[in-house]
Structures are given as C-alpha cells and as structure tokens.
C-alpha cells in the first residue's frame, strides 16, 4: 500500500510538473504577483470614470536605475490623480531587462509600456514589440518632439515608435586641483594639449598616485564611444567610422586620436591598470583625486552626487578637437528613446493616456531640473531652469552639441574597431594596416547587411557637420 501511494505521489508530482511546463490558456489572463502580467485581468472600459468600476491596470517595465524613486513617485501621483480610472504598476528591472522582455513577449505576457534605449530600439522594432505612435500624436506633440525625431533612433520607415525625454552630452571631465597643481590654466582644446596636460599632471602627481588620463578600457568600444567619438565629431568626422558622404565606413579619421591615446600610454600618463578598468572603478578613482581627466557622458554629475560622492574640485569642459578647429558638433547621445507602447497590449489607448502624462511639459521639465537627465526636447530645455546638481553646468547643451546621423548597424567579423585600436594602443603595430583592415571588414559587413535588407547605407554627399551646430538650441 505504501509503495502504491509512493507511486501515485510520484505520478502526481510528474503531472504537476507537466502542467507547470505547459501553457495554460485558461489562466493566461490571471493576474500574477510573481510575474507582472500585462494582460492582467480587467475588462473595464478604458475611460471609466474615477472610482467607478474596476480600474484599468497597466504594467510598465523600465531598466533605469538612476530615476527609479522619482518615476515611482510620479507614477503614484498619476494613479491617485488621473480621471481615467487607470492604475499603473511600474517595475524597475535593473538586470536582464532585455531577456525579460523577450520572454514576456514570447509568452504573451508583455508589459503595456516599455523602456527601449539606443541599443534595444532597433531589435524591439524588428521583433514587432513596439506599437507605432503616429496615430496618437497630435500636431502640437509632433512640433514639440520633432527636433529629436531621427531615423533609426525612434523613427523607422516613417513611423515613430518612441519619443525622447533626456539625452547625454559628451564632455572632458577634469580635476581642477590636479590641473592647478601641474600649472595648467585651462582644459585642453587640442589633442596635443591633452597629451601634454596628461604628462604634466602625471609628473606633478605620480608620487601621490595621481595620473593625467584614464579611460574604461575594460570595454574598449565603450571607452572609444565616450571619448574618441566627440573628439572626432567636433572635428567634423563621424565618431563611429561611417562616412555618410560616401555611404562607406572609413576609420582613417581615428588615427590622430588613437595615436594621442597611445602617446599618453607610452608616456606613462595613463592610470596604471586602465586595461582592466571599468567605468565605475574609473569614477571611483577620479572621485579620490587620482585621475586628471577623462571623457564621458553627462551622467557624471549624478554619479558624483550619489554613487561616488567626492570632495574634489572637478568640472566638465568641451572635449578637445583634433587640432583646435571646430568643424562639427559633439554627439548628443542616447537621446531619442524613452517610453513606448507594447504591440501586444490590449489597453493601448489607456497606455497612451499614461504616456501623455509622462511626456507632459510639467514632468519633462521637472525631470530635467531635478538632474535626472538633460532634456532632449529643445522647447523644454529652453524653459527649464539649470538642474540643481553640482557639476552639471559644464554639461549643458551648447551650440556644439547635436544629433548626428546614426551609422548603419552591422555585424562585423573579427575584432571591432574598439578592440582593434586598443590592441594598437597596448602593443603598437601599423595603424595604417589596422585602419585598412577595419575598413575592409566593416564595408564587407555593410554590403552583406544591405544585401540582406537588414540595414540601409544612407548616403548624403552634401552632408556638412558644421551645419549641425546650434540645432539643439532651437526654441
């Protein structure tokens, strides 16, 4: 008898496991505390008056950490005040966000509102996750967000999938005390000045463990995309190696910048161990006064206020150009995307109502002024006060910040340009050969992607980077 019941228990356990593994259509619309379910439950009309009938529940997934508390606070406020009987549940997923979104869409449990970014928007659009917003946008909104609507950033085949809120300017971040100690009056404006300043700072401070320059070379492409990029863009050269005038990749413009980085390493002006330095350890060292300068995004003021509070006297300045001549503008990075509506949502109208609240002038202005991110909406940036956060002054938009045309996305075989150039910085070789090899492989990958219909090689022979200047200050 005991054996029989043991056998029955085992079979029952297997059956339970089977039922857990298989989909349960009947339960697909049940709300779940463990897994937020966009299809959650209610069948209430979307415009039910407040306090009447069941609420329209929306699920909103984001990955942003820096504004987590603020967003929760604003969502709570919306839940209490909206007249449409809508209740939004916001979930901040700081890890595995993309995988979670993929799984949610595959299992038809997608959130109603998502947060795409510069890396995920293209895949999300191609996977069909995002709903075009064109049908909801008013003329007023089109005018308001128009300057930051850009192909391959938030617009694909003429359809807009997400709208901007904030973006990142790129600057040289420097320790004013170390500059003063080395007898340098101003931040460098050319590559030669940067190399020289790094050397002087190191000579003056090496005994105290202070070095002139550092970059997060643990991820070389990430390091170049926050440093070489704006130096090149200010010099009128694309920061990702794509020459829109010819529709081809050409990395030859990188040569003086990479040589300058190599020179600083050979001089011993870089913090020892930059090869394994990630951005946060770099910031921690900067906060301790060990690094003279580095190049990065406008996230830094928030970092030094909250993550690595510092006593050092630091500032941000426009990055140097190659030779001091400004022929373009530094990229205003990651500025095209913020919120989007899921194509699987059954409550798209309600989701749009929530988005109109999140994209309201009042909220966007408040977001900017509280220092969570520099507004990427020119009309908001024009009316908002300077964010109340130390160090932000140097990061504010100027006429030398602009949206650059985005390069086509390609899958290159072999080393990417970040790794290839970093290898040269570490061990030398022929930079001309490296550039020729990169051009060959990137253009082969581009031709392949274009042939497969995966991307478009946009050509604009008349493109003039100098004309980008001042475009983000439109009022």
């Amino acid at each position: 008898m005991k054996k029989l019941s043991a056998a029955l228990s085992a079979v029952t356990l297997s059956a339970l496991l089977l039922s857990a593994c298989s989909g349960n259509n009947n339960g697909a619309n049940e709300p779940s505390a463990a897994a937020p379910n966009a299809q959650s439950s209610d069948k209430a009309p979307e415009s039910a008056p407040a306090d009447k009938g069941p609420k329209t529940k929306l699920v909103f997934w984001t990955f942003d950490r820096h504004d987590n508390e603020y967003i929760k606070e604003r969502v709570d406020n919306y839940n209490k005040t909206n007249q449409d009987n809508i209740e939004v549940e916001v979930t901040a997923m700081t890890e595995n966000y993309v995988q979670s979104v993929d799984i949610a869409f595959a299992s038809k449990q997608a959130p109603d509102i998502l947060r795409p970014n510069q890396d995920t928007t293209i895949p999300f659009v191609k996977k069909g996750y995002l709903e075009p917003l064109d049908g909801y946008l008013t003329e007023e909104m089109k005018t308001k967000f128009g300057p930051t609507i850009q192909d391959q950033a938030n617009q694909f085949d003429g359809k807009i999938y997400t709208l901007p809120n904030f973006g990142y300017t790129l600057r040289l971040v420097y320790n004013k005390d170390l500059f003063a100690k080395a007898g340098i009056a101003n931040p460098p404006t050319t590559l030669a000045e940067m190399v020289d300043a790094a050397k002087k700072i190191t000579e003056a401070g090496k005994a105290d463990g202070q070095y002139g320059f550092a970059l997060n070379f643990k991820a070389p492409k990430s390091a170049l995309d926050r440093s070489a990029r704006e130096i090149l863009q200010l010099s009128g050269i694309d920061g990702f190696g794509y020459d829109i005038r010819t529709g081809k990749f050409d990395f030859s413009g990188f040569k003086p910048v990479i040589d300058a980085f190599k020179q600083m390493r050979d001089d011993g002006s870089m913090l020892p161990g930059v090869e394994s330095l990630d951005i946060d350890p770099l910031r921690a060292q900067f906060a301790q006064g060990k690094i003279g300068m580095y190049l990065s995004y406008s996230a830094e003021p928030g970092v030094y206020q909250n993550q690595f509070p510092t006593e050092i006297n630091w500032g941000a300045a426009q990055a140097p150009s190659i030779d001091g001549n400004i022929k373009g503008a530094a990229g205003f990075a990651n500025s095209g995307q913020w919120l989007a509506i899921s194509s699987q949502s059954e409550k798209k109208d309600a989701a749009w109502k929530f988005l109109t609240y999140m994209y309201s002038d009042e909220l966007l202005k408040d977001y900017h002024e509280k220092g969570y991110g520099l507004s990427a909406v020119p009309s908001i940036a024009a009316q908002a006060n300077t964010p109340a956060i130390n160090g932000v002054e140097g990061f504010l938009l100027t006429q030398y910040d602009a949206l650059w045309p985005l390069p086509p996305t390609v899958t290159v075989q072999g080393l990417n340009y970040g790794d290839a150039f970093f290898k040269y910085v570490l061990s030398g070789g022929s930079l001309d050969d490296i550039v020729a090899d990169l051009n060959k492989r990137y253009n082969e990958a581009l031709d392949k992607a274009v042939a497969a219909g995966e991307t478009k090689a946009v050509v604009d022979p008349g493109f003039d980077p100098a004309k980008l200047q001042g475009t983000m200050l439109t009022k």
Binding site: A10, S14, Q99, G273, S276, P281, Q413
Partner: protein, 299 residues
C-alpha cells in the same frame, strides 16, 4: 505480474520528474541551438538558411581559435596546479591533525561562495592601481613598481590563480573520500616493511587512488574547459582577448554581455560555435578517458 507492473510504475514514476527536467532544460536546448547552426539569425527578423556558412566562418574566425588556445592554457594551467595541490592537501588533512575539520571547511569554503563575488574580490586584490597584492608587495619592497596583474602579460595567470583558489576545496574533498576508502592494513604492512612516508604515498596512495583520480581529472578537464563565469566578471575576456575562453566567446555571441556591448547577438553563428566547442570538449575528454584507462586497471 501485477506486483511487477506496480514496481515498474513506481520506478518510472520517480524517474519521470527528473527525466522531464533533463528533457526540458538539458536536451531540448541542445536541439534548439542545433537548429540554428545552419541559419543566419540575430534574434529577430527572418531566419535565413545558409547551409554550412557558419562553420566556414568559424574555420577562419581568428577570435575563436585564439579563444581555443586560451582555453587550453587556462584549463591546462588550472589542472596542473589544482590536482597535485588538492591531493597534497587531502593527504595532509587525512591524517590525525588537530583542527583538521576546521581546515577542511576552510579549504572548501571557496566552493560555496558565488563565482561572481569571488571575481569581484579578486579584482580588489589584483587591480594594479590600488590592489591589495601590489600594496603588500610594494610595502615589503618585494617589487619596485606596481605589477599590472590584469594587464595583457599577467591576466591569464591571474584568472588561473582565481580558478585554482576556487577549485582546490572541491577536489580536495573528492580526494579525501578516495583516501578514506584505502584499507589501513596496506599502510600498516608497508610500515612493518620499513617503507618511508614518501614511498607509501607513491606506492600505495597514488595507485590505490587510480580509479578515483581518473574520474577527478576527467571532471577537472570538463569543468576547466567549460569555465568562463569568473573570467566574465573579472576581465570580460580582455584585455584584447588575452583571457577570452571558448564558452565566454559563445556566451557573448548568444547573450552580449552588457548594454552597449561590442558584440551583436548572433544566435545562428553562436549556436555553431557552441556546437564546435562542445565537440572540442568532448574529443579532449574522450581522448583523456582513453589514455587514462590504465589508471583504472592499476590494481
């Protein structure tokens, strides 16, 4: 007859849950990945059938072959240090030492600590600008300048040290289990014959551990060839691919490590590389198993 049927139901009933778990989480993903080997697929859009193109690309993929070379150095280094060291520690701790249980627990502790945590701690110890190791060596004037332990020259050595530190306790425990199965009379008779401690180790301990050692080394080979987690956290395969190992390369192709990662998701090619990697691990393990059959027949 009915009794026999019941026994069958009972046996298979108990087997079913684990079989289902293995099928869903172990076997299905293998076939899932194999399906994509012949396609160009980036996780979205159309899957384009490309025959053996992924394997042709693999053949000429310098990054992959560098990862294979790195894996052999990493696994070889880890095994060459871990196995003798854990055997020696196991032999010492098998004796009636005072506090041996405490020491066993101490050596075993790294095994139960999260790999990611270990890697972060090792970064604190080994980074060149303010790492504890450099500070110690400089303070005691053992070196004149900071050593770049995570730089191109020493990064592989550092990840091997990390791997050894994390593995010794585990293998020590397996050797201890093997040592305790050796009959005590063998040592007693050897002592009567006047054998020294070293003679007893080489003539009794090592041969008697043969079958256990065969399995331990096989386990060490497969685990080392497949290891990548600590490297992912400590160096992410860098600098410039110096610590890129096979499974880390596969992982990056299938799941690009971080936002803004240099690699783009390539499910088709990643599956082909994963398959080739599994074959390499299988061939090396099988080759070792063939060569090591003598260990099993030693007594």
């Amino acid at each position: 007859m009915r009794m026999k049927w019941r026994v069958h139901v009972e046996n298979y009933g108990f087997l079913l849950p684990s079989f289902l778990l293995t099928a869903v989480l172990g076997i299905y993903p293998i076939f899932w990945a194999m399906r994509y080997m012949f396609y160009d697929y980036k996780g979205y859009g159309d899957m384009i059938y490309i025959g053996f193109d992924n394997f042709t690309r693999l053949w000429g993929d310098e990054l992959f072959w560098e990862a294979v070379r790195n894996t052999i150095v990493y696994a070889g280094g880890k095994i060459a240090i871990t196995i003798p060291l854990s055997l020696i520690i196991a032999v010492i701790l098998d004796r009636g030492l005072k506090g041996r249980n405490f020491l066993r627990a101490l050596y075993f502790m790294p095994t139960v600590i999260s790999t990611a945590v270990i890697a972060v701690v090792f970064f604190i110890i080994f980074n060149s600008y303010n790492g504890l190791l450099n500070q110690f060596l400089l303070k005691n004037r053992l070196i004149s300048g900071a050593i770049d332990w995570l730089g191109p020259d020493y990064a592989m050595l550092t990840v091997i040290i990390l791997a050894v530190w994390g593995a010794i306790g585990n293998y020590m425990l397996l050797f201890l289990a093997g040592l305790q199965s050796i009959p005590g009379d063998l040592y007693e008779s050897a002592e009567i014959d006047g054998a020294s401690a070293i003679q007893k180790f080489w003539k009794i301990t090592v041969p008697m551990l043969g079958p256990v050692m065969q399995m331990i080394i096989m386990l060490a080979i497969t685990v080392s060839l497949k290891g990548y987690e600590s490297i992912m956290v400590l160096t992410e395969g860098g600098p410039v691919g110096k610590t890129e190992v096979m499974y880390l390369y596969v992982y990056k192709l299938l799941f690009p490590v971080s936002t803004g990662s240099a690699m783009i998701q390539e499910i088709g090619y990643g599956s082909a590389v994963g398959f080739a990697t599994a074959i390499i691990v299988g061939v090396i393990t099988g080759f070792y198993f063939m060569l090591s059959r003598r260990l099993n027949k030693i007594y």
